[in-house]
C-alpha cells in the first residue's frame, strides 16, 4: 500500500494530554490514519494508548493539539460529535446499558450519532450487517445476559450501524477466546478492505505483527516510532516499546526468578468441594467447582472473562455466599463464615479492584494498613484499640521493603500509581504471613516491569510456603508462574494441567462449554 497518494481520514496533530495532578498521558503526538489500513497502536499498559484514542473519540478533551477529520479541523465536545464525524470507539470494556436490550442500546447510539433509525429500521440494518459480516447478536437479549464476547460484538455492531469510517478498537482481544480472536481479526481486515481506517490498540507485539499494515509504538506518553509491517523487526519493536536498558533489567528479573526452587508441601491449605454460586442475576455462575491447593503451590485459574471466575473468587474471599458446597481453609470449614474469619486464619487477599476493594481511596496508607490487617492476628490492635504508632511503623516497613514510591505512610492511597498501589497491597497481605494467598488479576493494567515485580513477589511467597490461588485472564502470566493450571468454563472446572503446559490444550479448554 502506498499512503503517499492517499489523504488521511483522521489526523492527530501535536496532541498533548496532561491530567489534573500533572500526569502527562500524551506528549506532542502526531499521527495519520489512512483509509483501507489497519494501524496497530502498540505499547505496554500505561503508555497512553487509551488516552489517545479517547481523545480521537471525543471522550476526553486534549490539553493541546488539533484533530482533523478528512482534512477538516474539528473540536469534539462530546462523543456524539465524534460519532457524527464517523469515528467509532470500541472500548476495552464494552460501554452498554446493562438493563437495556441490545437493540435499545443500538438505537440509542445511532440516534446520538445523528442517524434517523427507528426500531424497525435498525432491525433491518442489523439483518443486512449480519448477511454482510456474519456478525449476529440477538437484538432482544438484555445486555446483562450476554457473554463478554457478545457484548463486544454488540459494540462492533454499533460502529457498523452508524457506518463509521474510522474504527478505533481498544485492546479488543483482552477477554476473547483464541477462536473469537481469529474471527475478530478477519472482521477487522474486512473493515479495512472496505476503505475504513482501523486503529487496533494492543500491548501484544505478536498481535500487532499479525494484524497491522503499520505499527505505531508508544512509550510513556510519547509516540516513539511508526513502522510499516514489512519493515518491522521484533527486537527493534521491543526496544521501542520498553527502551533498551529496561529490557535488560526484565531479562535479569526473569532469569533470577527461574533459579528459585521450591517443593510443594503435603498440607492442603484450600479445599473447595462441589461449589455452586449464584451470580448477580440469580443464575448459577459457578456450577460444582472442586479443587485442592497445597502449601508452596501456585495454582492458576484460567478462563475467559465472565465464566464464573469472578463469582468463584468472591465466594472464596467470603463476600458472596455459596448456594451449595464446601470451602475449607487450612482445615477449617469457612463455607458460611465471613471474610473476617478468613483474616483470622491468615488468608491474604489481593482483589482485582485496587481502589475500592483493596484500598480505601482518600485515606492514608496507615489507615489502609489497619483496615487491611484488622482481622488478622498480626493487626496493630489491642483490646479493640488501634495502636497508630505501630500501625505507622508497619506501613513504613511495607513501603521500604517493597520499594513503594510514595512520600510517606500518610500519603493518600489514591495518589499512588497502579504499580506502587499493588506493591503496597501485596506487601500488606504478605505482612500477615499468610498460609493462603488469593489473588485475582493482580497485574492487570500494570506496565511490564511493575507486573514482573508483582509476579516475583508471589513466587517468593510460594517459596516461603504459602499456597497461592491465582485467578488471571492473562494466560501467559499463568503459564509463567503456576505449578498447575485449571481452566474454568461456564462455571465448571473443565481442564487441569501440570507443568510443562501445553498452551494450545489450555486455550482449547477455555473455549469449550
Amino acid at each position: 500500500m502506498n499512503n503517499a497518494d492517499k489523504k488521511p481520514l483522521l489526523s492527530l496533530r501535536n496532541i498533548t494530554k496532561i491530567y489534573p495532578g500533572g500526569v502527562i498521558a500524551n506528549k506532542d503526538i502526531s499521527l495519520d490514519i489512512y483509509p483501507g489500513e489497519i494501524l496497530a497502536l502498540l505499547g505496554e499498559n500505561g503508555a497512553g494508548k487509551t488516552t489517545l484514542v479517547s481523545i480521537a473519540a471525543g471522550l476526553i478533551k486534549p490539553t493541546r493539539g488539533q484533530i482533523l477529520v478528512k482534512g477538516e479541523s474539528v473540536v469534539f465536545n462530546s462523543p456524539r460529535d465524534a460519532m457524527r464525524k464517523g469515528i467509532a470507539l470500541i472500548p476495552q470494556n464494552p460501554m452498554l446499558i446493562d438493563n437495556f436490550t441490545v437493540l435499545e442500546n443500538l438505537v440509542l447510539v445511532s440516534r446520538l450519532a445523528g442517524k434517523r433509525y427507528g426500531i424497525r429500521l435498525a432491525k433491518k440494518r442489523l439483518e443486512e450487517i449480519e448477511k454482510k459480516y456474519g456478525l449476529f447478536v440477538n437484538p432482544s437479549a438484555y445486555v446483562w445476559s450476554l457473554s463478554f464476547g457478545e457484548r463486544q460484538k454488540a459494540e462492533i455492531l454499533k460502529a457498523l450501524l452508524i457506518d463509521a469510517s474510522i474504527v478505533l478498537l481498544d485492546e479488543p482481544t483482552t477477554h476473547l477466546s483464541p477462536v473469537e480472536v481469529d474471527k475478530l481479526l478477519s472482521l477487522t481486515r474486512q473493515l479495512a478492505n472496505e476503505g475504513r481506517g482501523v486503529v487496533f490498540i494492543t500491548h501484544r507485539l505478536s498481535e500487532a505483527l499479525r494484524v497491522a499494515d503499520r505499527i505505531a509504538v508508544m512509550r510513556r506518553g510519547r509516540l516513539v516510532a511508526v513502522v510499516s509491517r514489512k519493515d518491522a523487526r521484533v527486537d527493534q519493536l521491543l526496544n521501542y516499546m520498553f527502551g533498551e536498558e529496561r529490557i535488560g533489567r526484565l531479562t535479569e528479573i526473569v532469569k533470577r526468578r527461574r533459579s528459585l526452587s521450591r517443593k510443594v508441601s503435603k498440607d492442603i491449605v484450600l479445599r473447595v468441594d462441589d461449589l455452586w454460586v449464584r451470580g448477580p442475576h440469580g443464575e448459577f455462575s459457578v456450577r460444582g467447582a472442586s479443587l485442592e491447593l497445597r502449601g508452596a503451590e501456585i495454582l492458576g485459574v484460567a478462563g475467559i472473562a465472565g465464566n464464573g471466575q469472578r463469582e468463584f473468587f468472591e465466594t472464596l474471599i467470603g463476600i458472596r455466599k455459596p448456594s451449595k458446597g464446601m470451602i475449607s481453609i487450612c482445615g477449617v470449614d469457612v463455607t458460611s463464615q465471613s471474610s473476617s474469619m478468613r483474616g483470622r486464619l491468615g488468608v491474604g487477599i489481593i482483589p482485582e479492584d485496587r481502589l475500592g476493594w483493596a484500598l480505601v481511596p482518600g485515606k492514608s496508607l496507615v489507615f489502609n494498613t489497619v483496615l487491611g490487617l484488622y482481622s488478622s492476628p498480626k493487626a496493630p490492635i489491642r483490646f479493640s484499640i488501634v495502636n497508630w504508632r505501630i500501625a505507622r511503623k508497619i506501613a513504613r516497613d511495607i513501603i521500604k521493603s517493597l520499594e513503594v514510591k510514595v512520600p510517606g505512610p500518610d500519603a493518600n492511597a489514591e495518589s499512588l500509581s497502579g504499580g506502587n498501589m499493588q506493591r503496597f497491597i501485596v506487601g500488606r497481605e504478605l505482612y500477615k504471613a499468610p498460609c493462603l494467598l488469593l489473588a485475582m488479576n493482580p497485574t492487570s493494567g500494570l506496565d511490564v516491569e511493575a507486573a514482573e515485580r508483582i509476579r516475583d513477589l508471589l513466587l517468593r511467597e510460594a517459596v516461603r510456603g504459602a499456597g497461592i490461588l491465582l485467578v488471571s485472564e492473562d494466560l501467559d502470566e499463568l503459564v509463567e508462574v503456576s505449578d498447575r493450571i485449571v481452566v474454568m468454563s461456564r462455571g465448571r472446572i473443565v481442564y487441569e494441567a501440570y507443568r510443562p503446559f501445553n498452551i494450545d490444550k489450555i486455550a482449547e479448554a477455555m473455549t469449550v462449554s
Partner: protein, 286 residues
C-alpha cells in the same frame, strides 16, 4: 348496601391526584433523579392556586399559577442537584419544608374563603388526562421511542450514558420540568376537588406527596403500573367512610391506605426481585 359504582367513582379524584404526581415522579426517576420534594411542591401549588383563584376569580389562572409555582420549586431542586452537585435526599427534604412553609403562608392569606372552583368539564378532562392519556403517552415515549431510551439510559447507568454522548443535563432539566408541571397540576387539582373542596384549611392537604413516592415503587416505575397503583390507593382512600360504618374506628380507617401500601410495597418488590425485574439501577446517581 354498598354502592360499588359510587365508590369506584369517588375514588377517581383521589386517584387523579396520585396519578399526576406519581407519573411526574416516575418519569424523573427514570432519568436518574429522585425528587423527594413532592410533598412540598403539591402543598405550595395548592396554596398558590387558592390565593390566585380567589383574587382573580378565575380557577384557570389559579391552576396555571399553581403549576408555575411547583415548576419553580422543581427548577430550584435542579439548580442545587444538577448545577451545584448537592445531595438529592437533603435537597429534596429542603424542598418539602420550603414548599409546606410557603404554601401555608400563602394559603392562609385566603382567610379560608371559598374560591371559585373548576367546572365539572375541566374536572373530567383532568381525570381523563391523568388516568388514560398520560399513561399511554408515557408508555409510548419511554418504551417505544428513542427519546425514552435517552431518558432511561440516565436512570440505568449515567456514567455509560455520558460516555455515549447522551446530553445528561439537558435531558434531566426537561424531565424536571415535566415533573414540576405534573406535580403542580396534582396540587391545584387537589385544592379544587380534594377533601375540602376549594377552601383553604391549614395543614389539611398533607401526605399526598409522600404517598405518591410510594406509588411510584408500587407501580414499579411503569406508567400503567403507576396509574393502576394510584387508582388502588385512591380507592382505599375513598373507602375510609365505609370502614367506619362497619364499626372500625376512624383513626384506624384513616391509616388503612398507608398500611395497605406498605404491605403491598414489601410483597411487590419481593415478587419483582424473584422475577428479575429491576427498578432503574441508578436513581440516585449524578
Amino acid at each position: 348496601m354498598v354502592n360499588i359504582a359510587a365508590l369506584l367513582g369517588q375514588a377517581l379524584p383521589y386517584a387523579t391526584v396520585y396519578a399526576l404526581a406519581a407519573q411526574g415522579e416516575m418519569f424523573l426517576e427514570r432519568a436518574g433523579l429522585f425528587n423527594l420534594g413532592l410533598e412540598g411542591m403539591i402543598y405550595l401549588s395548592a396554596g398558590v392556586t387558592a390565593i390566585v383563584s380567589l383574587h382573580t376569580g378565575s380557577p384557570v389562572y389559579g391552576l396555571l399559577a399553581g403549576i408555575v409555582s411547583s415548576a419553580i420549586l422543581a427548577l430550584l431542586y435542579g439548580f442545587f442537584v444538577i448545577s451545584l452537585g448537592a445531595d438529592q435526599a437533603v435537597t429534596g427534604l429542603s424542598i418539602v419544608f420550603l414548599g409546606i412553609g410557603l404554601g401555608d403562608v400563602i394559603g392562609r392569606a385566603t382567610g379560608g374563603a371559598v374560591t371559585p372552583s373548576i367546572g365539572i368539564l375541566a374536572d373530567d378532562l383532568i381525570i381523563v388526562l391523568a388516568l388514560l392519556v398520560l399513561p399511554v403517552i408515557f408508555y409510548l415515549v419511554l418504551f417505544r421511542s428513542w427519546l425514552g431510551y435517552v431518558v432511561r439510559s440516565l436512570g440505568e447507568n449515567v456514567v455509560t450514558a455520558r460516555a455515549l454522548g447522551v446530553p445528561v443535563t439537558l435531558t434531566r432539566i426537561v424531565a424536571l420540568m415535566i415533573n414540576g408541571t405534573l406535580v403542580g397540576l396534582a396540587g391545584s387539582y387537589l385544592f379544587f376537588t380534594g377533601p375540602l373542596g376549594s377552601r383553604w384549611v391549614s395543614m389539611s392537604l398533607l401526605g399526598w406527596g409522600w404517598m405518591s413516592l410510594g406509588i411510584v415503587i408500587l407501580g414499579y416505575w411503569h406508567p400503567v403500573g403507576v396509574v393502576a397503583a394510584s387508582y388502588l390507593v385512591g380507592l382505599l382512600y375513598a373507602m375510609r367512610p365505609l370502614l367506619e360504618t362497619v364499626g372500625i374506628p376512624s383513626s384506624i380507617a384513616d391509616v388503612t391506605p398507608y398500611l395497605v401500601v406498605i404491605i403491598a410495597l414489601a410483597v411487590i418488590s419481593a415478587l419483582y426481585e424473584k422475577m428479575n425485574v429491576r427498578p432503574p439501577t441508578a436513581i440516585w446517581s449524578r
